[in-house]
Amino acid sequence: MGAVGFVVLFPLLGFLVLLTFGRRLGDPVAGWLGTLAVFGSFVSAIVVWLARLGNEGHPYVLRLFDWFSAGGLHVNVSFRVDGLSVAMILFVTGVATLIHLYSIGYMKGDPLYHQFFVYLNLFVFSMVVLVTANTLPLAFLGWEGVGACSYWLISFWFERPTAASAGKKAFIVNRIGDTGFLLGTFLVFEHLGSVSFSRLTAGSLNLSPDTATAIVLLFFLAAAGKSAQLPLFTWLLDAMEGPTPVSALIHAATMVTAGVYLMARLSPILALAHTADLVIAIVGVATAFVAAMAATAQTDIKKIVAYSTVSQLGYMMLGIGTGAYTAAIFLMITHAFYKALIFLGSGSVIHSLNGEQNIRRMGALKKYMPITTVTMILAWLSIAGVPPFSGFFSKGAVLENAFGDSPLLWAAGVITALLTAYYMGRLVYVVFYGTPRFEEVTHGHDPHESPSVMTIPLIVLAAAAVIGGLLNLPVSGFGFLGSWLAPVFGTAQAAYPMSAGLKDGLMATDAVVALLGVFLSWRAWGGVSENPALERKIFFNGWYIDAFYDRAFARTGTAVAEVADTVVDRQIVDGAVTGVAGVARLVGGAGRKVQSGLVRSYLLIMVGGLIVMLGYVLTVAAR
């Protein structure tokens, strides 16, 4: 199980080598090297997993060295191997390997080709550190690392002003969440005297419900920033300015799920904070619904997928809030498969249409891009929750637990599921069917299928999206993920007693709703590419949430900053600095006069000093 060290080491080595020699290796060697590093990490993750088979009960901790200690705080660099972290590293490195492979083709010819893989490898390293860290500060290092990589990669094409400002936005919004992470860490240390996850075991914590609620809500603030929940989700839409593989890896499959992971990791505390859990569940389901509505009216293919991601993250938070941690992780993994697939499929389309992202200028691509089309349809059926695709089982598990907690949460979730099947159907019909509308962007050339480095990841991910449900079938004896994660969540995991008939009924409802969504999208969008009645402006503009933030915070903030610049900085601060510098120069000049070089004047000054000391002594001496 010490192989977990290699899981962390490989991407780090890849990063260092690419950082040093990347420019010289160039296109495509740098890309292959980066892919190889992440693949090595994936293989190590498999080794860790195999080593754990059979002794799942006890977490294994690889302690490397003491990082720092201050007072009672001892932080070491140590990695935790338990069911949760193994599940995370397996799917993170697996999906990352495929996306690295895809990027070799997608980024071909980019002037900063090697730099892209430098960031990507650093990202995988940070992500692996985040999910395997055994202490909160180390996890925070990974948390900030993925945030920084996300910033660099969103603004990768920084010569576009929109990309630069999108990167900034992601960075700033995530800072708001990070405040919660730090304050939460402080609170954990104050009440538990330790920041190690080893201390957080279910049932053994002596936290008052109020403290637990405060801790959970602070960490949820962090999670809401990273995992794009209401009200902090707006950055994820702008993040689509980055290259599409980045959107797939960071802003769909892995980084944005870090918030969900963090909440699952803190499940022992969540189990003590029922009010906070309810808040999380409501925020989650509200995010899912709001984002799904917005997704129905977008015209930019990546915006549709981005809203869809926000919506799915809302489902995961619903799972967390209702205590269904296994279901949330299950959804996270299957979502990683089909959402990465949808992004890469979109990227394949964008790639073949010379960078066009507007679905109005696509259509009828089925004929030209058969592999992309088929895999996208499979992804659609998965995310819609059509049985027996993976989304049916994972989303079904979340909804079942939501029903156990409150039928209201369940109802909102089911409506969102209907919307999900509908908006993805709209995407598929408008892009791949109907009439061709891409002449403008292709200038007469026919679109072409992408090269095999790009289609192979599509096929692998499609297979995973289709059969991913096998990970955790709702049949006794086949709930692999459930039994794998059971030792991690233990008693924190909620258990809702339900009759077999009710469970079957809920599953049937899910299936019917999914098929209904598919049917509705076919009725509405089969052969149609534009329908203003179904594309309301309020949803197109994402409920005007972003516009509201811009008015309320961004503009007032800019105004304050301008005052600070012209008045406070230039006049007060600069004035003080210039004044101090002037005094310093004056004294310094005097020092040169004192330093005459004459021994007699040196002696005089020394004796002067002595006389002052003796004079002082005379005043304090007891007489």
């Binding site: 200690s69 004294v587 330093q595 040196y602 000093g609 001496a621 007891a622």
Partner: protein, 514 residues
């Protein structure tokens, strides 16, 4: 044995000598004698490699014994030896390790450059070992007289080393100035010892402590007068304002590698003794002496930083920088708690390694750009980053370490001293210290900027080439060992800057006996 038997027959009562307590002094002195003996037996030939090897072995052995003592002399094992005149404790052992570190670096860096001035003779290394012995005696001295002897052993060797560039008028002047002013301060120090003896009836620190604990002086004027005079002696040695005036002249006049050596060694010896005398023996008088020490500290920090701003001569800038450092270390003495003492030791070892390394780099710079060891102005550094990028980068790192840049021991040293001051709730002192450090950054950055900005001047460039051509391959060889020393100090400074825990733990073990 026979010798001991003969001695025991004499009518003089000799104290029992604990050889393991004085082992560090013995190996240093033994090394010095051995070098002299070898050079006397080989006639006219000189064996610089052998001398250097012996000196290195002596330095390493001294460090080894000190390290051994640091583990051995813990808790109840710490004791007084040789009739109570010598302390055998973790504190002196740690100081011994610092001395060994300075020696090791200085032996690697120095002789190559001294050879240019004075040839291959053994005297330089002998003086170095003897002055180091003086510093260890000061660190172990449990009696004011012993401390005074250590001070003199250290100082007299240093006077000679400062005057090594005998052909240069500036150097002669510097050595002579240092000697006169040093003699003056030694005399006052001795008078201070006399007054303390007059007040307490003893010069032994343990007995002074015991006496002052048991008796309340109704008239403590004599004692306090004595303390003030002692402070002048120590203040001179560590170059605290206003007793610092010798240091810019002497730092410039001395051979550069000697400057680095004495800046480190004199401070280690003097501060070790200062802590033992004031923080332990006169701990009861802390209310009376604290204002004086904090006054010296603040003057040193503030004026050290301010005076350096207008200097253009590199070695004088570094002289003021070391005055600024002295002020910081004095704050550790001023705080006086156990934690503050261990932080002071950390500062001492961090400072000693940085300063020897920095002056080693200055030697290499002077050698490379072809100026004499007496001068190197900021203008002459221009364009160094272009012509010698590695040298400029390493110099920049060491200079920034002196400024207290994070990820170096320099940062932790300053930080922990300020923490100690905050812990005794003297916030304004901490604020002054931080401000002085901020001002100091300005002149450290000037050095870095000078190297990294601009091209070497045209005429200058030709001159450099001409000199380098003339000196053939000699500079490379004399710089090779110096580079090893400099690299060691760089690794130490950055390594322990990132992973400071082992060093902090070591400093925390250094308790003072009694």
């Amino acid at each position: 044995m026979i010798f001991a038997n003969v001695l025991s027959q004499l009518p003089i009562a000799l104290p029992a000598i604990s050889y393991k307590a004085v082992a560090p002094e013995l190996v240093l002195f033994g090394g010095a004698l051995l070098i002299l003996l070898v050079s006397a037996t080989v006639g006219k030939r000189e064996l610089p490699g052998l001398y250097r090897a012996i000196a290195l072995v002596a330095a390493l052995a001294e460090g080894g014994f000190s390290g051994y003592q640091l583990y051995l002399a813990q808790g109840a094992k710490a004791s007084l030896a040789v009739a109570g005149a010598i302390a055998y404790d973790g504190f002196s052992a740690f100081a011994g390790i610092v001395v060994a570190a300075i020696l090791l670096l200085a032996i690697l860096i120095g002789p190559g450059f001294i050879k240019r001035i004075a040839g291959d003779g053994p005297e330089f290394l002998v003086l170095m070992l003897i002055s180091a012995m003086g510093a260890t005696v000061m660190a172990q001295g449990e009696d004011l007289i012993v401390i005074f002897i250590g001070l003199e052993i250290l100082s007299i060797a240093l006077y000679v080393m400062v005057g090594y560039r005998i052909g240069d008028g500036l150097a002669r002047e510097a050595a002579f100035k240092y000697f006169i002013l040093g003699g003056f301060s030694s005399a006052i120090f001795l008078y201070g010892i006399a007054l303390v003896y007059g007040a307490t009836g003893t010069t032994n620190l343990a007995k002074i402590g015991a006496f002052l604990a048991l008796n309340v002086l109704t008239h403590d004027g004599v004692l306090l007068f004595g303390l003030a005079l002692l402070l002048l002696g120590f203040g001179f040695k560590v170059s605290a304002v206003p007793f610092h005036l010798w240091s810019p002249d002497v730092y410039q006049g001395a051979p550069t590698s000697v400057t680095g050596y004495m800046a480190a060694m004199a401070k280690v010896g003097a501060f070790a003794a200062l802590i033992r005398v004031f923080d332990i023996a006169f701990a009861g008088q802390i209310v009376q002496w604290r204002p004086i020490v904090v006054g010296l500290a603040i003057l040193s920090m503030v004026f050290g930083a301010l005076f350096a701003l207008r200097q253009r001569e590199l070695k004088k800038i570094l002289a003021y920088s070391s005055i600024n450092h002295a002020g910081f270390i004095l704050l550790g003495v001023y705080a006086g708690t156990a934690a503050a003492i261990s932080n002071t030791l950390f500062y001492l070892i961090a400072y000693a390694v940085i300063v020897v390394g920095t002056f080693g780099l200055v030697s290499i710079v002077q050698d490379s750009i072809g100026v004499s060891e007496g001068s190197c102005s900021l203008d002459q550094l221009r364009g160094l980053a272009r012509s010698r990028p590695a040298l400029a980068t390493v110099t920049a790192i060491m200079v920034l370490a002196q400024a207290g840049a994070p990820f170096t021991t320099g940062f932790l040293a300053k930080f922990s001293i300020i923490v100690s001051v905050v812990e005794i709730r003297e916030y304004w002192v901490a604020v002054v210290a931080m401000l002085s450090a901020a001002i100091a950054v300005a002149f450290y950055l000037r050095i870095v900027l000078a190297m990294f900005r601009g091209e070497p001047e045209e005429v200058e460039g030709e001159r450099v080439l001409a000199i380098q051509g003339a000196a053939t391959e000699a500079p490379a060889r004399r710089q090779a060992l110096a580079w090893i020393g400099v690299s060691l100090s760089l690794v130490f400074t950055v390594g322990f800057g990132i992973f400071p825990q082992p060093l902090l733990d070591l400093a925390a073990r250094a308790h003072i006996v009694g």
